[in-house]
Amino acid sequence: MSYAPSPAALARIEKTMALYPEKLAAILPVLRVVQAEAGFISRDAEAWVAARLAVEPVRVREVLSFYTLFRRAPGGRATLQICRNISCALAGAEDILRFISEKLGIEPGETTPDGAITLVTAECLGHCDHAPCLQVDGVDHGPVTRETVAAIIEELKAHG
Protein backbone atom coordinates (compact mmCIF):
# COMPACT_ATOMS: atom_id res chain seq x y z
CA MET A 1 0.00 0.00 0.00
CA SER A 2 1.52 3.31 -0.87
CA TYR A 3 2.02 6.00 1.74
CA ALA A 4 0.68 9.54 1.80
CA PRO A 5 0.57 11.85 4.81
CA SER A 6 -2.70 13.53 5.78
CA PRO A 7 -3.16 17.13 4.62
CA ALA A 8 -2.43 18.35 8.16
CA ALA A 9 0.79 16.33 8.35
CA LEU A 10 1.78 17.49 4.88
CA ALA A 11 1.30 21.10 5.94
CA ARG A 12 3.57 20.50 8.94
CA ILE A 13 6.16 18.89 6.68
CA GLU A 14 6.14 21.84 4.27
CA LYS A 15 6.43 24.27 7.15
CA THR A 16 9.41 22.50 8.69
CA MET A 17 11.19 22.16 5.34
CA ALA A 18 11.06 25.91 4.88
CA LEU A 19 13.32 26.35 7.94
CA TYR A 20 16.46 24.90 6.34
CA PRO A 21 18.56 25.95 3.36
CA GLU A 22 18.94 22.29 2.30
CA LYS A 23 16.10 19.78 2.03
CA LEU A 24 17.92 16.87 3.67
CA ALA A 25 18.38 18.92 6.86
CA ALA A 26 14.65 18.56 7.50
CA ILE A 27 14.81 14.76 7.61
CA LEU A 28 14.57 14.35 11.40
CA PRO A 29 11.57 16.67 11.81
CA VAL A 30 9.89 15.19 8.72
CA LEU A 31 10.33 11.62 9.96
CA ARG A 32 9.01 12.76 13.32
CA VAL A 33 5.81 14.06 11.71
CA VAL A 34 5.39 10.83 9.73
CA GLN A 35 5.92 8.65 12.79
CA ALA A 36 3.61 10.77 14.95
CA GLU A 37 0.81 10.16 12.49
CA ALA A 38 1.44 6.61 11.27
CA GLY A 39 2.98 5.19 14.46
CA PHE A 40 6.05 3.95 12.60
CA ILE A 41 8.00 4.51 9.38
CA SER A 42 6.92 1.94 6.78
CA ARG A 43 8.98 1.12 3.69
CA ASP A 44 6.51 3.10 1.65
CA ALA A 45 6.81 6.06 3.99
CA GLU A 46 10.59 5.82 3.68
CA ALA A 47 10.27 6.00 -0.10
CA TRP A 48 7.88 8.93 0.16
CA VAL A 49 10.26 10.86 2.45
CA ALA A 50 13.19 10.14 0.13
CA ALA A 51 11.25 11.47 -2.84
CA ARG A 52 10.06 14.52 -0.92
CA LEU A 53 13.61 15.37 0.19
CA ALA A 54 15.00 14.51 -3.25
CA VAL A 55 17.55 12.01 -1.93
CA GLU A 56 18.21 8.32 -2.59
CA PRO A 57 16.20 5.98 -0.31
CA VAL A 58 19.42 4.79 1.33
CA ARG A 59 19.85 8.26 2.86
CA VAL A 60 16.59 7.80 4.71
CA ARG A 61 17.42 4.24 5.73
CA GLU A 62 20.80 5.14 7.18
CA VAL A 63 19.22 7.86 9.29
CA LEU A 64 16.38 5.60 10.46
CA SER A 65 18.80 2.92 11.56
CA PHE A 66 21.05 5.36 13.44
CA TYR A 67 18.60 7.14 15.73
CA THR A 68 16.75 5.25 18.45
CA LEU A 69 13.60 7.36 18.22
CA PHE A 70 12.42 5.88 14.94
CA ARG A 71 10.50 2.65 14.51
CA ARG A 72 10.31 0.63 11.35
CA ALA A 73 7.51 -1.57 12.69
CA PRO A 74 4.36 -0.72 14.64
CA GLY A 75 4.80 -0.28 18.40
CA GLY A 76 2.45 0.15 21.34
CA ARG A 77 0.01 3.01 21.75
CA ALA A 78 2.23 4.30 24.56
CA THR A 79 6.00 4.02 24.94
CA LEU A 80 7.54 3.66 28.36
CA GLN A 81 11.22 4.54 28.50
CA ILE A 82 13.05 3.62 31.66
CA CYS A 83 16.47 5.08 32.42
CA ARG A 84 19.12 2.60 33.46
CA ASN A 85 22.14 4.87 33.61
CA ILE A 86 24.29 5.72 36.62
CA SER A 87 22.11 7.88 38.90
CA CYS A 88 19.03 5.79 38.25
CA ALA A 89 20.95 2.54 38.66
CA LEU A 90 22.18 3.76 42.07
CA ALA A 91 18.53 4.38 42.99
CA GLY A 92 17.32 0.91 42.02
CA ALA A 93 16.44 1.24 38.33
CA GLU A 94 17.20 -2.43 37.61
CA ASP A 95 14.67 -3.49 40.22
CA ILE A 96 12.04 -1.17 38.75
CA LEU A 97 12.81 -2.46 35.27
CA ARG A 98 12.39 -6.09 36.39
CA PHE A 99 9.16 -5.19 38.12
CA ILE A 100 7.73 -3.49 35.00
CA SER A 101 8.95 -6.29 32.80
CA GLU A 102 7.18 -8.90 34.96
CA LYS A 103 4.05 -6.84 35.30
CA LEU A 104 3.74 -6.34 31.56
CA GLY A 105 5.00 -9.82 30.72
CA ILE A 106 7.45 -8.45 28.16
CA GLU A 107 11.15 -7.72 27.85
CA PRO A 108 12.60 -4.30 26.95
CA GLY A 109 12.13 -3.70 23.25
CA GLU A 110 8.82 -5.59 23.17
CA THR A 111 5.16 -4.51 23.05
CA THR A 112 2.36 -5.94 25.18
CA PRO A 113 0.07 -8.35 23.24
CA ASP A 114 -2.85 -5.92 23.56
CA GLY A 115 -0.77 -3.26 21.81
CA ALA A 116 -1.01 -0.87 24.77
CA ILE A 117 2.62 -0.40 25.83
CA THR A 118 6.07 -0.68 24.31
CA LEU A 119 8.80 -0.96 26.94
CA VAL A 120 12.28 0.33 26.18
CA THR A 121 15.34 1.12 28.25
CA ALA A 122 16.95 4.53 27.94
CA GLU A 123 20.28 6.08 28.74
CA CYS A 124 20.32 9.12 31.03
CA LEU A 125 17.09 11.09 30.56
CA GLY A 126 18.59 14.23 32.13
CA HIS A 127 16.39 13.86 35.19
CA CYS A 128 18.99 12.34 37.49
CA ASP A 129 17.87 14.34 40.55
CA HIS A 130 14.57 12.45 40.25
CA ALA A 131 16.09 8.97 40.05
CA PRO A 132 14.92 6.38 39.35
CA CYS A 133 12.99 7.94 36.53
CA LEU A 134 11.12 7.10 33.38
CA GLN A 135 9.36 8.86 30.57
CA VAL A 136 5.97 7.97 29.07
CA ASP A 137 5.39 9.54 25.66
CA GLY A 138 7.52 12.53 26.58
CA VAL A 139 6.15 13.01 30.10
CA ASP A 140 8.68 12.62 32.90
CA HIS A 141 8.03 10.63 36.06
CA GLY A 142 10.37 10.32 39.03
CA PRO A 143 11.45 9.31 41.49
CA VAL A 144 9.29 6.27 40.84
CA THR A 145 8.63 3.31 43.12
CA ARG A 146 7.02 -0.06 42.40
CA GLU A 147 3.73 1.46 43.56
CA THR A 148 3.84 4.59 41.39
CA VAL A 149 4.96 2.55 38.40
CA ALA A 150 2.08 0.12 38.91
CA ALA A 151 -0.32 3.09 38.93
CA ILE A 152 1.17 4.52 35.73
CA ILE A 153 0.76 1.16 34.01
CA GLU A 154 -2.86 0.77 35.15
CA GLU A 155 -3.61 4.23 33.80
CA LEU A 156 -2.04 3.42 30.43
CA LYS A 157 -3.91 0.12 30.16
CA ALA A 158 -7.20 1.78 31.05
CA HIS A 159 -6.88 4.65 28.59
CA GLY A 160 -4.81 2.96 25.88
Binding site: L19, P21, K23, L24, Y67, S87, C124
Partner: protein
Protein backbone atom coordinates in the same frame (compact mmCIF):
# COMPACT_ATOMS: atom_id res chain seq x y z
CA UNK B 1 24.04 37.69 50.45
CA UNK B 2 25.84 39.24 47.49
CA UNK B 3 26.50 35.89 45.87
CA UNK B 4 22.86 35.06 45.49
CA UNK B 5 21.77 38.47 44.19
CA UNK B 6 22.26 37.72 40.55
CA UNK B 7 21.06 34.30 39.52
CA UNK B 8 20.63 32.64 36.19
CA UNK B 9 17.89 30.36 37.44
CA UNK B 10 14.78 31.65 39.14
CA UNK B 11 13.66 29.43 42.03
CA UNK B 12 10.44 28.26 40.44
CA UNK B 13 9.19 26.83 37.16
CA UNK B 14 6.64 29.61 36.59
CA UNK B 15 8.91 32.63 36.11
CA UNK B 16 10.12 31.69 32.66
CA UNK B 17 7.90 33.96 30.61
CA UNK B 18 9.09 37.17 28.98
CA UNK B 19 7.16 39.37 31.39
CA UNK B 20 8.94 37.86 34.40
CA UNK B 21 12.29 37.97 32.63
CA UNK B 22 11.84 41.66 31.85
CA UNK B 23 11.16 42.29 35.54
CA UNK B 24 14.60 40.80 36.18
CA UNK B 25 16.03 43.40 33.74
CA UNK B 26 15.95 40.90 30.91
CA UNK B 27 17.17 41.90 27.43
CA UNK B 28 18.82 45.08 28.77
CA UNK B 29 22.28 43.57 28.33
CA UNK B 30 21.49 42.71 24.71
CA UNK B 31 20.06 46.16 24.15
CA UNK B 32 23.20 47.74 25.52
CA UNK B 33 25.45 45.47 23.44
CA UNK B 34 23.59 45.95 20.17
CA UNK B 35 22.96 49.66 20.48
CA UNK B 36 26.13 50.96 22.16
CA UNK B 37 28.93 48.47 21.50
CA UNK B 38 30.77 47.22 18.43
CA UNK B 39 30.77 43.45 17.80
CA UNK B 40 34.51 43.42 18.53
CA UNK B 41 33.95 45.10 21.90
CA UNK B 42 31.33 42.50 22.81
CA UNK B 43 33.69 39.63 21.99
CA UNK B 44 36.51 41.35 23.88
CA UNK B 45 34.32 41.71 26.96
CA UNK B 46 33.39 38.02 26.93
CA UNK B 47 37.05 37.07 26.39
CA UNK B 48 38.00 39.15 29.40
CA UNK B 49 35.31 37.51 31.52
CA UNK B 50 36.97 34.11 30.95
CA UNK B 51 33.67 32.39 30.33
CA UNK B 52 34.59 28.75 29.85
CA UNK B 53 32.34 26.45 27.83
CA UNK B 54 29.85 24.65 30.05
CA UNK B 55 29.29 21.77 27.62
CA UNK B 56 32.26 19.64 28.56
CA UNK B 57 35.48 20.80 26.96
CA UNK B 58 35.76 24.10 28.87
CA UNK B 59 36.96 26.16 25.90
CA UNK B 60 36.76 29.96 26.43
CA UNK B 61 33.64 31.21 24.65
CA UNK B 62 34.94 34.63 23.61
CA UNK B 63 38.02 33.09 22.00
CA UNK B 64 35.81 30.68 20.06
CA UNK B 65 33.71 33.55 18.71
CA UNK B 66 36.82 35.44 17.65
CA UNK B 67 37.75 32.57 15.29
CA UNK B 68 34.81 33.28 12.99
CA UNK B 69 36.16 34.97 9.86
CA UNK B 70 34.75 38.49 9.68
CA UNK B 71 34.96 39.05 5.97
CA UNK B 72 33.52 35.70 4.82
CA UNK B 73 30.65 36.11 2.39
CA UNK B 74 27.44 34.15 2.79
CA UNK B 75 25.61 32.84 5.85
CA UNK B 76 27.20 32.06 9.21
CA UNK B 77 25.47 30.08 11.90
CA UNK B 78 25.08 29.75 15.63
CA UNK B 79 24.34 26.24 16.86
CA UNK B 80 23.18 25.80 20.41
CA UNK B 81 23.99 22.48 21.96
CA UNK B 82 20.92 21.42 23.95
CA UNK B 83 21.59 17.73 23.45
CA UNK B 84 22.44 17.24 27.14
CA UNK B 85 23.19 13.53 27.19
CA UNK B 86 26.20 13.10 29.43
CA UNK B 87 24.94 10.69 32.12
CA UNK B 88 24.54 12.50 35.42
CA UNK B 89 23.91 15.89 33.77
CA UNK B 90 20.62 17.75 34.01
CA UNK B 91 21.48 21.45 34.25
CA UNK B 92 20.56 22.56 30.71
CA UNK B 93 17.13 21.10 31.38
CA UNK B 94 16.71 23.69 34.14
CA UNK B 95 17.86 26.56 31.94
CA UNK B 96 15.31 25.56 29.29
CA UNK B 97 12.65 25.12 31.94
CA UNK B 98 13.22 28.27 33.98
CA UNK B 99 15.31 30.69 31.96
CA UNK B 100 14.71 30.20 28.23
CA UNK B 101 14.91 33.97 27.70
CA UNK B 102 18.38 34.12 29.28
CA UNK B 103 19.44 31.61 26.65
CA UNK B 104 17.82 33.63 23.86
CA UNK B 105 19.36 36.87 25.08
CA UNK B 106 22.77 35.20 25.29
CA UNK B 107 22.32 33.87 21.77
CA UNK B 108 21.45 37.34 20.53
CA UNK B 109 24.60 38.81 22.08
CA UNK B 110 26.81 35.96 20.81
CA UNK B 111 25.35 36.21 17.32
CA UNK B 112 25.88 39.96 17.26
CA UNK B 113 29.48 39.58 18.46
CA UNK B 114 30.41 36.90 15.96
CA UNK B 115 28.27 38.22 13.09
CA UNK B 116 25.79 35.31 12.83
CA UNK B 117 22.25 35.74 11.53
CA UNK B 118 20.67 32.31 11.93
CA UNK B 119 20.64 30.05 14.97
CA UNK B 120 19.63 26.42 15.34
CA UNK B 121 19.00 25.05 18.80
CA UNK B 122 19.60 21.30 18.76
CA UNK B 123 17.45 19.86 21.54
CA UNK B 124 17.64 16.18 22.49
CA UNK B 125 14.53 14.18 21.62
CA UNK B 126 13.74 13.43 25.26
CA UNK B 127 13.41 17.20 25.93
CA UNK B 128 10.63 17.68 23.37
CA UNK B 129 8.41 19.26 26.03
CA UNK B 130 11.14 21.79 26.84
CA UNK B 131 11.63 22.48 23.14
CA UNK B 132 7.95 23.43 22.97
CA UNK B 133 8.48 25.90 25.83
CA UNK B 134 11.49 27.33 24.02
CA UNK B 135 9.33 27.79 20.91
CA UNK B 136 6.88 29.76 23.04
CA UNK B 137 9.68 31.91 24.43
CA UNK B 138 10.94 32.57 20.89
CA UNK B 139 7.46 33.66 19.84
CA UNK B 140 7.31 36.04 22.83
CA UNK B 141 10.73 37.49 22.01
CA UNK B 142 9.84 37.93 18.35
CA UNK B 143 6.61 39.68 19.21
CA UNK B 144 8.55 42.06 21.48
CA UNK B 145 11.10 42.79 18.75
CA UNK B 146 14.01 41.00 20.46
CA UNK B 147 14.39 38.43 17.69
CA UNK B 148 13.73 38.50 13.96
CA UNK B 149 14.85 41.40 11.78
CA UNK B 150 16.16 44.77 13.00
CA UNK B 151 16.40 44.06 16.71
CA UNK B 152 16.21 47.20 18.91
CA UNK B 153 15.92 49.23 15.73
CA UNK B 154 19.47 48.31 14.68
CA UNK B 155 20.49 46.70 11.41
CA UNK B 156 21.08 43.43 13.23
CA UNK B 157 18.63 40.53 13.25
CA UNK B 158 18.58 36.91 14.37
CA UNK B 159 16.31 34.03 13.34
CA UNK B 160 16.10 31.09 15.73
CA UNK B 161 14.99 27.59 14.77
CA UNK B 162 14.47 24.80 17.31
CA UNK B 163 15.58 21.43 15.97
CA UNK B 164 14.77 18.19 17.78
CA UNK B 165 17.26 15.34 17.82
CA UNK B 166 16.23 11.72 17.61
CA UNK B 167 18.06 9.82 20.31
CA UNK B 168 21.85 9.43 20.05
CA UNK B 169 24.36 10.49 22.72
CA UNK B 170 27.09 11.16 20.19
CA UNK B 171 25.07 13.99 18.61
CA UNK B 172 26.18 16.10 21.59
CA UNK B 173 29.70 16.09 20.12
CA UNK B 174 29.83 19.31 18.15
CA UNK B 175 30.70 17.98 14.70
CA UNK B 176 28.30 15.03 15.07
CA UNK B 177 25.68 17.61 15.94
CA UNK B 178 26.41 19.41 12.66
CA UNK B 179 26.15 16.17 10.69
CA UNK B 180 22.87 15.37 12.40
CA UNK B 181 21.53 18.85 11.77
CA UNK B 182 22.37 18.48 8.09
CA UNK B 183 20.26 15.33 7.98
CA UNK B 184 22.76 12.52 8.25
CA UNK B 185 23.89 9.94 10.80
CA UNK B 186 25.46 11.70 13.76
CA UNK B 187 29.05 10.73 13.07
CA UNK B 188 31.80 13.21 14.01
CA UNK B 189 33.92 15.00 11.42
CA UNK B 190 37.67 15.09 11.35
CA UNK B 191 39.07 18.41 12.66
CA UNK B 192 40.54 20.63 11.26
CA UNK B 193 38.81 22.34 9.63
CA UNK B 194 37.13 23.59 12.78
CA UNK B 195 33.46 24.57 12.71
CA UNK B 196 34.37 28.24 13.17
CA UNK B 197 35.58 28.20 9.56
CA UNK B 198 33.78 25.19 8.03
CA UNK B 199 30.71 24.23 10.02
CA UNK B 200 27.00 23.92 9.32
CA UNK B 201 26.27 23.63 5.58
CA UNK B 202 29.98 24.36 5.06
CA UNK B 203 29.64 27.85 6.57
CA UNK B 204 31.43 29.42 9.57
CA UNK B 205 29.64 28.22 12.69
CA UNK B 206 29.80 28.79 16.44
CA UNK B 207 28.65 25.92 18.64
CA UNK B 208 27.98 26.65 22.29
CA UNK B 209 26.31 24.89 25.16
CA UNK B 210 22.99 26.17 26.55
CA UNK B 211 24.41 27.20 29.91
CA UNK B 212 27.41 28.95 28.32
CA UNK B 213 25.14 31.20 26.28
CA UNK B 214 22.68 31.76 29.12
CA UNK B 215 25.56 33.16 31.21
CA UNK B 216 26.49 35.77 28.59
CA UNK B 217 23.86 38.43 29.48
CA UNK B 218 25.30 38.67 33.01
CA UNK B 219 28.68 39.58 31.56
CA UNK B 220 27.30 42.36 29.37
CA UNK B 221 25.00 43.62 32.13
CA UNK B 222 27.59 43.86 34.90
CA UNK B 223 30.91 43.78 33.10
CA UNK B 224 33.68 41.24 32.67
CA UNK B 225 35.41 42.18 35.92
CA UNK B 226 32.32 41.52 37.98
CA UNK B 227 31.82 38.14 36.27
CA UNK B 228 35.46 37.16 36.64
CA UNK B 229 35.37 38.20 40.27
CA UNK B 230 32.58 35.73 40.99
CA UNK B 231 34.72 32.80 39.86
CA UNK B 232 38.45 32.25 39.59
CA UNK B 233 41.11 33.93 37.47
CA UNK B 234 40.98 32.08 34.16
CA UNK B 235 37.57 30.56 34.85
CA UNK B 236 34.93 33.16 35.57
CA UNK B 237 31.39 33.25 36.85
CA UNK B 238 29.05 30.84 38.54
CA UNK B 239 28.12 27.44 37.19
CA UNK B 240 25.19 25.12 37.47
CA UNK B 241 26.42 22.08 39.34
CA UNK B 242 24.16 19.04 39.22
CA UNK B 243 24.32 16.63 42.13
CA UNK B 244 22.64 13.24 42.01
CA UNK B 245 23.09 9.82 43.59
CA UNK B 246 23.48 9.33 47.33
CA UNK B 247 22.87 12.81 48.74
CA UNK B 248 20.05 14.21 50.86
CA UNK B 249 19.14 16.99 48.42
CA UNK B 250 19.88 16.07 44.80
CA UNK B 251 19.44 19.00 42.42
CA UNK B 252 21.14 21.80 40.52
CA UNK B 253 23.19 24.31 42.54
CA UNK B 254 24.23 27.66 41.09
CA UNK B 255 27.57 28.42 42.72
CA UNK B 256 30.83 30.22 42.02
CA UNK B 257 33.38 28.41 39.90
CA UNK B 258 35.94 27.19 42.43
CA UNK B 259 33.47 26.06 45.09
CA UNK B 260 35.07 23.00 46.72
CA UNK B 261 33.62 19.68 45.56
CA UNK B 262 33.32 18.59 49.17
CA UNK B 263 31.29 21.71 50.04
CA UNK B 264 28.97 21.10 47.11
CA UNK B 265 28.31 17.54 48.22
CA UNK B 266 28.28 17.93 52.00
CA UNK B 267 26.87 21.41 52.52
CA UNK B 268 24.70 22.25 49.51
CA UNK B 269 23.46 18.77 48.64
CA UNK B 270 23.32 17.75 52.31
CA UNK B 271 25.82 14.91 52.18
CA UNK B 272 25.04 11.21 52.17
CA UNK B 273 21.65 10.21 53.62
CA UNK B 274 21.56 8.81 57.17
CA UNK B 275 23.44 5.61 57.57
CA UNK B 276 25.16 5.85 54.19
CA UNK B 277 28.75 6.73 53.42
CA UNK B 278 30.31 8.06 50.25
CA UNK B 279 32.26 5.41 48.40
CA UNK B 280 33.18 7.28 45.24
CA UNK B 281 32.37 10.48 43.35
CA UNK B 282 32.08 11.05 39.62
CA UNK B 283 32.69 14.81 39.33
CA UNK B 284 31.67 15.72 35.78
CA UNK B 285 29.35 13.24 34.13
CA UNK B 286 30.04 9.57 33.41
CA UNK B 287 33.03 10.39 31.18
CA UNK B 288 34.90 11.93 34.14
CA UNK B 289 37.23 9.52 35.95
CA UNK B 290 35.97 8.52 39.38
CA UNK B 291 37.40 10.04 42.60
CA UNK B 292 37.76 8.40 46.03
CA UNK B 293 36.21 10.06 49.13
CA UNK B 294 39.61 11.42 50.17
CA UNK B 295 40.13 12.97 46.75
CA UNK B 296 37.30 15.49 46.80
CA UNK B 297 39.07 18.46 48.39
CA UNK B 298 39.37 20.29 45.11
CA UNK B 299 37.87 23.54 43.87
CA UNK B 300 35.40 22.91 41.05
CA UNK B 301 37.02 24.53 38.06
CA UNK B 302 38.32 23.20 34.77
CA UNK B 303 42.02 23.34 35.67
CA UNK B 304 41.76 21.91 39.21
CA UNK B 305 39.77 18.87 38.14
CA UNK B 306 42.27 18.19 35.39
CA UNK B 307 45.04 18.34 38.00
CA UNK B 308 43.07 15.88 40.12
CA UNK B 309 43.27 13.41 37.24
CA UNK B 310 39.63 13.81 36.33
CA UNK B 311 37.58 16.49 34.59
CA UNK B 312 34.89 19.02 35.37
CA UNK B 313 33.17 18.15 32.09
CA UNK B 314 29.49 18.98 32.32
CA UNK B 315 29.68 19.51 36.11
CA UNK B 316 27.26 16.67 36.77
CA UNK B 317 28.38 15.22 40.11
CA UNK B 318 27.28 11.67 40.90
CA UNK B 319 27.77 10.44 44.47
CA UNK B 320 28.16 6.69 44.77
CA UNK B 321 27.31 5.26 48.22
CA UNK B 322 28.90 2.38 50.11
CA UNK B 323 27.32 -0.94 49.30
CA UNK B 324 27.41 -0.21 45.57
CA UNK B 325 29.06 -2.94 43.54
CA UNK B 326 31.78 -1.29 41.50
CA UNK B 327 31.59 -4.23 39.13
CA UNK B 328 28.02 -3.10 38.39
CA UNK B 329 29.26 0.45 37.84
CA UNK B 330 32.00 -0.86 35.53
CA UNK B 331 29.50 -2.94 33.60
CA UNK B 332 27.07 -0.04 33.24
CA UNK B 333 29.85 2.26 32.06
CA UNK B 334 31.13 -0.30 29.55
CA UNK B 335 27.61 -0.95 28.26
CA UNK B 336 26.90 2.74 27.78
CA UNK B 337 30.00 3.42 25.68
CA UNK B 338 29.72 0.22 23.66
CA UNK B 339 26.13 1.08 22.90
CA UNK B 340 26.71 4.75 22.07
CA UNK B 341 29.89 4.51 19.99
CA UNK B 342 28.96 5.83 16.57
CA UNK B 343 31.14 3.21 14.91
CA UNK B 344 33.03 5.52 12.59
CA UNK B 345 36.51 4.68 13.84
CA UNK B 346 37.79 1.21 14.65
CA UNK B 347 39.62 1.66 17.97
CA UNK B 348 36.46 3.06 19.55
CA UNK B 349 33.91 0.80 17.84
CA UNK B 350 35.83 -2.44 18.46
CA UNK B 351 37.52 -1.33 21.68
CA UNK B 352 34.33 -0.41 23.51
CA UNK B 353 32.57 -3.61 22.47
CA UNK B 354 35.53 -5.79 23.50
CA UNK B 355 35.67 -4.01 26.82
CA UNK B 356 32.00 -4.81 27.38
CA UNK B 357 32.56 -8.47 26.40
CA UNK B 358 35.50 -8.69 28.75
CA UNK B 359 33.54 -7.15 31.63
CA UNK B 360 30.86 -9.75 31.00
CA UNK B 361 33.44 -12.54 31.04
CA UNK B 362 34.66 -11.14 34.34
CA UNK B 363 31.18 -11.54 35.71
CA UNK B 364 30.89 -15.16 34.60
CA UNK B 365 32.72 -18.16 36.03
CA UNK B 366 36.39 -18.18 35.24
CA UNK B 367 36.83 -14.42 35.08
CA UNK B 368 39.86 -13.07 36.88
CA UNK B 369 42.58 -10.46 37.25
CA UNK B 370 43.89 -11.14 33.75
CA UNK B 371 40.60 -9.83 32.39
CA UNK B 372 41.11 -6.57 34.24
CA UNK B 373 44.53 -6.20 32.66
CA UNK B 374 43.00 -6.98 29.30
CA UNK B 375 40.42 -4.21 29.78
CA UNK B 376 43.19 -1.77 30.71
CA UNK B 377 45.07 -2.69 27.52
CA UNK B 378 41.92 -2.21 25.46
CA UNK B 379 41.27 1.17 27.07
CA UNK B 380 44.85 2.24 26.35
CA UNK B 381 44.38 1.08 22.77
CA UNK B 382 41.50 3.53 22.36
CA UNK B 383 43.18 6.56 23.92
CA UNK B 384 44.68 9.00 21.46
CA UNK B 385 43.64 6.91 18.44
CA UNK B 386 40.14 8.13 17.76
CA UNK B 387 38.43 10.67 15.60
CA UNK B 388 36.57 12.41 18.42
CA UNK B 389 36.89 12.78 22.21
CA UNK B 390 34.24 10.08 22.80
CA UNK B 391 37.03 7.47 22.74
CA UNK B 392 38.94 9.20 25.52
CA UNK B 393 35.67 9.74 27.38
CA UNK B 394 35.07 6.00 27.34
CA UNK B 395 38.61 4.85 28.09
CA UNK B 396 39.47 7.14 31.00
CA UNK B 397 36.56 6.40 33.36
CA UNK B 398 36.90 2.66 32.74
CA UNK B 399 40.61 2.83 33.45
CA UNK B 400 40.01 4.81 36.65
CA UNK B 401 37.41 2.34 37.93
CA UNK B 402 39.88 -0.52 37.53
CA UNK B 403 42.87 1.31 38.97
CA UNK B 404 40.98 2.62 42.00
CA UNK B 405 38.81 -0.41 42.79
CA UNK B 406 41.02 -3.24 41.61
CA UNK B 407 40.85 -5.20 44.87
CA UNK B 408 37.09 -5.17 44.98
CA UNK B 409 36.78 -6.01 41.30
CA UNK B 410 39.17 -8.97 41.62
CA UNK B 411 37.20 -10.30 44.58
CA UNK B 412 33.90 -9.83 42.82
CA UNK B 413 35.22 -11.61 39.75
CA UNK B 414 36.52 -14.56 41.75
CA UNK B 415 33.12 -15.14 43.30
Amino acid sequence: MVESEVRLLPDDDRSWRLEAYLRRNGYQAARRALTTMSPEAVVAEVCKAQLRGRGGAGFPAGTKWSFVPKDAAGPKYLCVNADEGEPGTFKDRLVLLRAPHALLEGMLIAAYGAGLRTAYVYVRAEYAGLAARLDEAIAEARAAGFLGGRVFGTGFGLEVVVHLGAGAYICGEETALLESLEGRRGQPRLKPPFPATVGLFGAPTVINNVETLAAVPQILARGADWFLGRGLPGDGGTRLFGVSGAVRRPGVYELPVGTPLRTLIEVHAGGAPDGRRVKAVIPGGLSAPVLLPDEIDFPLDVASLARAGSMLGSAGVVVIPDGTSMLDVLRLTARFYAHESCGKCTPCRIGTSWILKTVDRLRRDGGGPADLDHILRLADGIRGRTLCPFGEGAALPIRALILKFRGELEQAAAR
